[in-house]
Structures are given as structure tokens and as C-alpha cells.
Symmetry: C2
Subunit: 477 residues, 2 copies
């Protein structure tokens, strides 16, 4: 396989991306060409062998990879909190992947180091932190873990050297799943009751703090969410900040989904008290459409990111360099190498400006609002809650044969099967991808969760299409 | 900014990558165009504003990003354990970034799910595991953390729910820096003495295990390294496995760097006992040249990855889907979403075959060997150790004015400044990037660390060039 062929392959990849409409799926293109796993194994030979494929075989493989992959850039994909990619961000990844370097030192990433700094400064500004620090991480779970680890370190700096053994039981108030990695058992993770819009009830939080203290446990971390995974609820940040202040608890805001709203003057007040938090996580790869992965963690506290995480590994991060080594970020991070994820957001920001971001966000929310208003007047559709706070519109679809019946347990059991059954039909038709979920702790059976994101730029017509597909596939039940 | 412009931008990015030789730097191209951070801020406007850039401005920005970034695809980059990128892997990332999806469910990543499975199965086969499980993670630190978390879970499954509070002090034998996140304090991380090739001394390991048990601590995890960061040492895996077996300790092998050797029949015996480990981490983004990030974690134990990490979050990973949900990997992972990193390695493997990988690896090691043999005969060069085990050749360069002198503390203090001083000159000239490091725990002052990787495919002439540059820049001291 000589050099010429490799460059030829790169050209073919670009040609394929264009020919197959990967970035601009057409109205007639399917969002998915569904095959069961066992059938897909027949369509594509996944095995790895001793021998090599030639360029034509490789092209055929890539064509099949495209054919059977989900077209998230299609206006028919509303299945996740992310959607398609901002194509300017995509161009940035093509370039940064070609430059193939890591974020850990200025030495190997001079431009990307200053870009990360610039983006972090701007995000701190948007959130309202006057001081502090931050970095890009490989996703929301890890960004949230940074918050929890710093919270613990502030209260018990000796955990860094002594570990958790011998400490009292630490208690966190969060719905975060990754706590067990950190040695905080899931029993010590208290979920706080929510109101009928899915928002944490501040009085419940305070009651739990007092209760857990009285048991001899040590509360150390409160996670407020701005944009919950299912209904997109935004917790009452100001009241929670007040309670954290009173009890001297670290307040982390998981704004992985909802943080994007801060970039729109028309919607940012929903996260108005963000600046009162100690740390904040935001995933521009969700609503804003930065290519996956793009997650930011910031903290209002100076130096703590370095103090908590530095290993002072002289063999990794030499201190006798000829430049100012405070530009090296490797000792702040739990990872040694990090992808240069900041570049794509930075380039998107450069080309669109805050103004451009705002109009994309406003459009996504306007479409969500249009969708909500429309289904609220249509027979068979029932909103899970009257208002949405991020861009998630949740609703039940009641098929004709269940309408007007007594809504007893048996009726709900039937309703519970409706969303999965319609989804199966829709997905197998290739016409649409939209998610569903129950919220069992709120006594709610399966309902649809319709998400709008900034990319591909949604339209009212896309919204109408979703409604029409659900109505159409009811008949196939 | 309309759609047409975006596609125009993508074409310009591809054109720029070609025009600026990003993927094939020429002999006359610099590996780095060095500017101090403050100067670089003048060359590139890093600020983010309200307003938008137009396409021409954007192109100019990208041209500068390229100009001042490191050319890791140049034959002059030997600074890190990674180097340039396998261009077939790069093509894979261009495609997968365009498809913009996550690895967490079969639903949104049908092809990439089966690809990850196929690669994990093949890697298990190469390592010699007959059973087990695995996944791609965002880098070596996190892959190694997976090993430590599983080890702890096997010994004390209750840590998942109860946390570490109330447990005896757990002790790990590793040089891993990230332990404090997991609630294992750095004081409880025991570094084992090494021999004069930098390899863990098994008798020392056993002595420490017994000693720590006698103190009332509970050893639970041994990390053996196959390819240490500085000298590339490979620990005596068979003897360490024997000790772990005797004391019933989890053996994790950090083969992030050295794991690539397993793909060459000529070199794989150096990691011959890998199959005796309980878990194994390997970064194909290091020597093999998969685009960053590409890190694999596998374990020989069945089910434990799921049992330990599952959160059973019904709202994330619905169980009432119409396909076999055992294909969904989200509940095995500490991350909710994961990049589809497996695809690039899979495509590289498809096109090159095991046979192609072997010849690339053999060539990289042959060049390292050529380099080592050549400098061992040259005046002024002194090897840190006679043999290398992975692809790291470490050496001191003794400038003419220090040769033949008494090698006392003062002499070594002077020597300690040589590598940083030569490096500064070389980097500022743009001619070469090569790393240096001390190994203070072995009493060694700064020496050069020369790394060869599979990409760009190194040649003897590249090796001669490195030697000539170091000799040349001695004169500029």
C-alpha cells in the first residue's frame, strides 16, 4: 500500500461523503437503514484477518458503513440530546485530526493551547465567573466527575494522599451515575424529590442535608441540573445556590444539555444564577451541534484544578523548559493526553459569532415551541408537561382505540407499549428517529421525547413531518 | 452563512491540508514554527466576539493554525510516544466525524457497535484472553482506571453501593497518577523498585505485598507496565503474574505504549505472559499511529465490566427495545456517550491486515535499532541503557567541552542542562522535535528520549538526520 494510494483513499472518502449525502441527507433519504445485528453481520464482514483489503474493497466497506449508519445530519433525527454536526466544527475536526496532536503541553499544541484558554475564558465570562479555571474533557460524565472530585478535595484535601479510608461517610446530592468510581457508594448518593416539572425541590434538598448531617454523614456536593436528560428540566438554581451557601456545600451545575441556552440573550435567564455555582459542565456537542465529543468543565475556584490533580510527574511535564510552563495543562487533567476538542467550538464561534449562535439557538427553541403548540391541539397527543425548559418536548400518543377510555392501570399498561411499538415501525421504515422513555419515579409510563438541536437547522416543516409520521404509523400497529 | 458556504468551507479545508503539506511535510518544511505564547497571541487573534468571520478570514485563520501547529506527520517529530497518523485511520475519522454519533447504543451506532465488538474480540485474541470483555476509552489514564475499579469491585463488590468509607486501607502497586480520583490516596500507591533496565523487580513486589499486609492494609491491584513512558521498559510479566496468582491480586498490564508489539510475530514474545493478566490497556494511538484518541481496555473476566459499572438507568438504556439490548454498551462504560474510536483501528486493520501491521512495527523497531547501534559508536553519545525494549532509545549527549572530564556532581549538573539547551535551539530552528527527561528516582539527570513510531514510516535517513541535528546544534550552545 504505497503513499499514493493513501492519498487516493482520502480523496475517495471525501467523494463518498458527498455522493452519499452524509452531510446533507435529502428528503428521500432514510435516516436509518435498519438491520438486526445478526443480519448486519451478513451485510458487512466485520472480521479482521491477516490479509489486506485493496482500495476498491475499502471503498465498498466505507460505502456500507455509511449505508447502515444513522444519518444524524438528517432533519429526521430527533433521538438524542445531540443531533447533526455544525459543518464548520466538522471542518475543524478534519483539520485537527490531520494535525494529530494532544492538548497536554504548549510544546506539542501551541495553537490549540491558546485556543483552549480563549474558549475557557469566554465560557467563564458567559457563565459569569470572574475568576477560575477549566478544561475540555471527553464528555459530560467526566466533566461532572471533575466537579465532584474538586468538591471533595476542597473539604478534605487529605483525600489526595490518604484516600477515603478513615473518613466519615461522604454524601452527595445528585443523580450522577459515576460516583462509585470515586469511592462514593451509590447508597450515599441522595436523589432529591422533584416538582411536577421535574425540577429539584429546594426544601427537599435542605431537608436531606439536615437529615444526613444528623445521621453523622458529611454532605459535600450538590449537583443541580440545567436540562435533565428526559424532560429538560432546569433546577431552581438561585434557591439551590442559597442553600449551598448556607451549608457551605460545593454547588456543581450539570448544564451539559441546557448550558447552550446561555448563548442566547432571549433564553439565558433560565440559567440566570449559574455564576453562583462552584463548577459548571457544558456539552457544546449537544444542542449547539459541535462534533462529538466536546465537553467543557469550569470552576470558579482558582488553582484548585491544578492542586487537586497535579501529579508533578517531572518525566511527563518538565519544569526546565524554555517557555512559561504555566501554559502546560497536563497537570490539571486526570488524563495525560487530551484531544484538542476546543478547536471545533472556537472555529464555530469565530465564524458565527455570539450573534450567529443566538439565532441558531432561538430557531431550535422556536421549532420546539411550534411543535409543542401544534400537538397540544391535536387529537391523540398529550403533553407530559405544559412547558418545556430546554428543547425537549415530551408527550404521549394515545392511539384511536385507547382514546376516551377509563385511564386505569390496565390502560396505562397498554399505553406503555405504544411508544416502543410505534418507534419500531418508524425505525424499520427508515423515516424517523425519535426517543421514548418512562419516568418511573414520577409514575409515568413510556412517552415520546422529541428533541430539537441547532443542526441540521430545524424548520416547522420538519416538525410537521414528525407529527405526520407518528400519526401514520399508528395505523400500522 | 448559508449552506453553500459551509460546503465551500469544507472543500477549502481539504485544499488547505493538501497545499500546506499537513499530511506529507516535505524535507524543507519545518516541524515547528516556534513562537513564544505571547508572540503567538499577536500572530493569531484568539479572541471570540459577537461578530462573524467570513470565509476568507476563516481560511486565513486555518492557514495560521496549520503554520504554527506541530507537524507530527513529519519525519522530524520524535517528541512523544505518538507520532503522525496512519492516513487510513485518518480517513476513517473524517468519515465517522461526519456521521457524528455516539457508541452507547446499537440503536444510534449499529455499524460502530459491531465494529467495536469485532476489534475487542480480535484484541482479546491477540492478548490471549479466551473470555472477557472490553471497550474503547478516551485514553490510557482512563483505561488504567477501569482496571483499578474492576479490581476493587472484585475484592469488595460492596464498594459500588457503600463506597470506601469503613473499608480498610486499600493499597495498589502502580505508578499510575490518577488513583486519587478513585479515593485511593497517593500514599497508598506503592511504587516498586526497578532494575537497571527500569523493570519492576518481582521480589520487591512480593516483599511490599507482604509488608503492607502486615501493616493491616489490603493490597488489591498490581499494575505491570509493558513500555514505560521514558525508557520503554517491559516488566517481567510472567513472574509478576505468578506473584499475583499466589496472593490473589488483580493483575493489570498497562501496555498503552508497548501493546503494539503483540501485533508482530518477531517482537510479541516480549509481552508473552500478557494472557495471564486480569485486564490490559493498549493505546493504538501511540506506536501504531491510529489517530488520537484510540485506547482499548479489555478484561479476562466475564460480565464484571457490566456488573461493576451498570447504573441500570432505564431512561438512558431502555430494556423494552425491539432488538437484543445486550448489544448496547452504555451500561458497561463510565461515560454515557463515547466516541466511535474503534472504527479507525478497524479500518486500518482491514486495509493492512495483521501482515501489514507487522511490517510497519518491524520497520519502526529496526530503525530504532539502527539509531541505537549508530550512536553507540559515535563520540559524545552515551546510551542510558544498552538495550531498549519498546521503541524508546534514551541517551545522553556529551558536548565536546565535557568529554573526558571527571564525572562528578558538578559535571552531571552541567550535563543536566545540555539536553534542554540543545532542544531549545533545535525547536527554535524548526528542524527537529525530540524529547528529554530525567529519571531522578534512578539518579539520572536529563537525557534525550528518541521515539520511533509506525507513522510516518521512519527510514534510516530520518535517524541519521536526528543525529546530525544534535551534533550541529551542540555548536550553537
Amino acid at each position: 500500500m504505497d503513499t499514493l494510494n493513501v492519498f487516493d483513499f482520502l480523496d475517495r472518502i471525501i467523494a463518498l461523503i458527498k455522493e452519499e449525502n452524509v452531510l446533507n441527507p435529502q428528503e428521500t433519504d432514510r435516516v436509518i437503514e435498519y438491520e438486526d445485528p445478526e443480519d448486519l453481520k451478513i451485510k458487512i464482514d466485520f472480521s479482521l484477518t491477516e490479509s489486506c483489503a485493496n482500495l476498491d474493497e475499502l471503498e465498498a466497506i466505507c460505502r456500507n458503513v455509511i449505508k447502515y449508519s444513522i444519518k444524524t445530519n438528517s432533519g429526521k433525527f430527533h433521538n438524542q440530546l445531540y443531533g447533526g454536526t455544525d459543518l464548520f466544527g466538522l471542518g475543524a475536526t478534519w483539520l485537527s485530526e490531520s494535525l494529530n496532536t494532544n492538548q497536554h503541553t504548549f510544546e506539542v499544541a501551541p495553537v490549540f493551547t491558546l485556543i483552549e484558554r480563549s474558549v475557557i475564558e469566554e465560557v467563564k465570562h458567559v457563565v459569569g465567573y470572574e475568576e477560575g479555571d477549566g478544561l475540555f474533557s471527553p464528555g459530560g460524565s467526566i466533566s461532572n466527575m471533575y466537579g465532584m472530585v474538586l468538591a471533595r478535595y476542597r473539604l478534605f484535601p487529605e483525600t489526595k494522599t490518604k484516600g477515603l479510608s478513615g473518613l466519615p461517610t461522604l454524601v452527595a446530592f445528585t443523580s450522577e451515575e459515576a460516583t462509585h468510581w470515586l469511592g462514593i457508594g451509590t447508597d450515599n448518593v441522595i436523589k432529591i424529590k422533584t416538582d411536577d416539572l421535574g425540577r429539584m425541590i429546594p426544601e427537599e434538598l435542605e431537608r436531606q442535608i439536615v437529615l444526613n448531617k444528623s445521621k453523622g454523614c458529611v454532605p459535600f456536593f450538590v449537583n443541580a441540573t440545567a436540562g435533565t436528560t428526559v424532560v429538560g428540566a432546569i433546577d431552581p438554581l438561585d434557591e439551590i445556590a442559597e442553600i449551598c451557601n448556607k451549608h457551605k456545600l460545593w454547588l456543581h451545575i450539570d448544564a451539559c444539555y441546557g448550558g447552550t441556552l446561555l448563548l442566547s440573550k432571549n433564553h439565558r435567564q433560565r440559567l440566570g444564577a449559574s455564576h453562583r455555582s462552584d463548577s459548571f459542565a457544558w456539552n457544546p456537542h449537544k444542542m449547539l451541534g459541535a462534533p462529538l465529543q466536546c465537553s467543557i468543565f469550569i470552576t470558579r475556584q482558582n488553582n484548585i484544578l491544578h492542586e487537586c490533580n497535579s501529579a508533578s510527574a517531572g518525566y511527563l511535564f518538565q519544569q526546565d523548559k524554555f517557555y512559561d510552563v504555566s501554559y502546560d495543562t497536563g497537570d490539571k487533567s486526570i488524563q495525560c493526553g487530551r484531544k484538542v476538542d476546543g478547536f471545533k467550538l472556537w472555529l464555530m464561534w469565530k465564524v458565527r459569532g455570539s450573534v450567529g449562535f443566538q439565532s441558531l439557538i432561538d430557531n431550535a427553541l422556536d421549532c420546539a415551541n411550534y411543535f409543542k403548540n401544534k400537538i397540544s391541539k391535536l387529537e391523540g397527543f398529550r403533553l407530559v408537561q405544559k412547558n418545556f425548559e430546554t428543547s425537549s418536548v415530551c408527550f404521549w400518543y394515545i392511539p384511536a382505540n385507547l382514546r376516551g377510555k377509563k385511564e386505569d392501570e390496565e390502560w396505562w399498561q397498554k399505553m406503555n407499549n405504544v411508544a416502543p411499538a410505534i418507534k419500531e415501525k418508524i425505525v424499520k421504515s427508515g423515516k424517523l428517529m425519535v426517543g421514548y422513555s418512562p419516568l418511573l419515579h414520577r409514575g409515568m409510563y413510556n412517552f415520546f421525547r422529541m428533541i430539537t438541536t441547532c443542526h441540521p437547522v430545524p424548520t416547522y416543516s420538519d416538525m410537521d413531518y414528525v407529527i405526520a409520521q407518528i400519526q401514520h404509523f399508528e395505523k400500522a400497529l
